[in-house]
Amino acid sequence: MFSKLGARLESVQEFEKTPVPATRWKSWRSFLGMYAGEHTAGTEFVIGPLFVAHGVAAGDLVLGLLLGNLLAVLSWAFLCAPIAVRERITLYFKLEKICGKRLVTLYNLVNALMFCFLAGSMIAVSATAVGIPFDLPMAKLSDWLPSGVGWVVTVLVVGMATTLVAMLGYDQVSRFSNLAAPWMILVFLAAAIAVLPELGVSDAGDFWSVAESKIWTGVPIEGQSKFGFWHVLFFAWFCNMAMHIGMADLSVLRYAKSWQAGFASAGGMFVGHYLAWLASGILYAVFLQKSQNAQEFAPGPIAYYAAGVAGAVCVIVAGWTTANPTIYRAGLAVQAVMPASKTWKVTLIVGLTTTVAACFPALVMRLLDFVALYGLLLMPMGAIVFMDVWIFPKWGLQSNLAALRHLHWNWAAALTWFSTLGACVFINRAFGVEIFFLGLPGWFVAVAVYALLSYVFQKKRA
């Protein structure tokens, strides 16, 4: 059995340094399932309730999610996917050509760390469901540290199982997501419908008044900040900023037959980031009503109350379907730093790091802030790729500069990255703009700085 598994692992071929051949291209349906599975995930059991905790009003949520998710789909379709099918290489290899090996090494390490934390939060969410039969004490909204030995052991078991699946490569990840997605989506929906009577909804006509008065009331829970329409819109748009505007999904969409596969992200946005966020918000509102606004925050028991064992299984599976591709992506990022290493070995190391991070509940409780930070940190490189592929050829500037001039460190790209993040910190400190909104001005800063610096550096060398 072990020799078979070993042979399977050795044969995993992910085209890290070569364009994906036509024989391996996948139709948009493959991406629809992958996106729907990936974005109907463990995070949805956290983000929906956190909107409730932050006092979002019902109208702000419905409209904010509609527009924010639409902007996210358009970002995938018009920014990321066209470059993915044109280049058909991973983001990391593309950045190596533009930025040089040393800068990409730094980027990859930051990237891999962020992916590890994100996957870690998913493993933690799964663990809240695995821990139900053992009556594990669950973390509170204000908790940062592990709640006990039982929690740590549960996380280790879930983390290792997730890592094993991720080690088997993209095909296995895609297959697992496709397999579970339709069922998971219906569990979210069913669980929410089943508990509506407990909130006082006896027919469909009652829903909106109950939504405004008992679910998304516009009043935050004690100790939580207030969120409004713009928070919801920008969060929905930018929560996957690293993937679309930041171009991390070049690594996934390079398998697509055409750029229109970018629209398949709608499967993830309007099912996972709309329907599932609303559904999980409803479940949390029932929990708050029953527990008289308890501070405990554990998606597993919340889903178990509404849907029984199937609900708990859904939380576990939902955590897996996000953690798997995220660990896989982190593995690709680290492998770009250590190209001689086997994919599965790198994924194993990344999976272990992720599992350790998952022991800390802070990753779940501060998920909204973390997700926004993660997108913001990686976004400037997406702006650099965008300029390098589409704009530089038109302006007579050199694309893939590092590859052509054998540079290890492209200063134009490096200074763009650092100064963009510096500008975002300045905007945050000087004008009090919250982290959720910084991605938009940040992208324009990155584009302008990269164009200016590239012009200066390239003309000086010419």
Partner: protein, 59 residues
């Protein structure tokens, strides 16, 4: 034939997942019955998929 049975089982899994919640909403069944039916739906869905895939390949 085998393929049809597994497709049917998968569809039954999805029906058993969603339909009970609507019946709870209408007051026809209790929340506990809904949970039991959802578990059966879960078993039908995940139980039928591996065999269904294999029989698809056989065809």
């Amino acid at each position: 034939m085998k393929k049809g049975i597994f497709h049917l089982l998968r569809a039954l899994g999805l029906v058993l997942t969603l339909l009970p919640s609507i019946l709870v909403f209408e007051g026809s069944i209790t929340l506990d019955t809904h949970k039991t039916l959802m578990l059966l739906g879960c078993l039908a869905w995940f139980g039928a998929i591996p065999f269904g895939k294999r029989s698809d390949a056989d065809d």
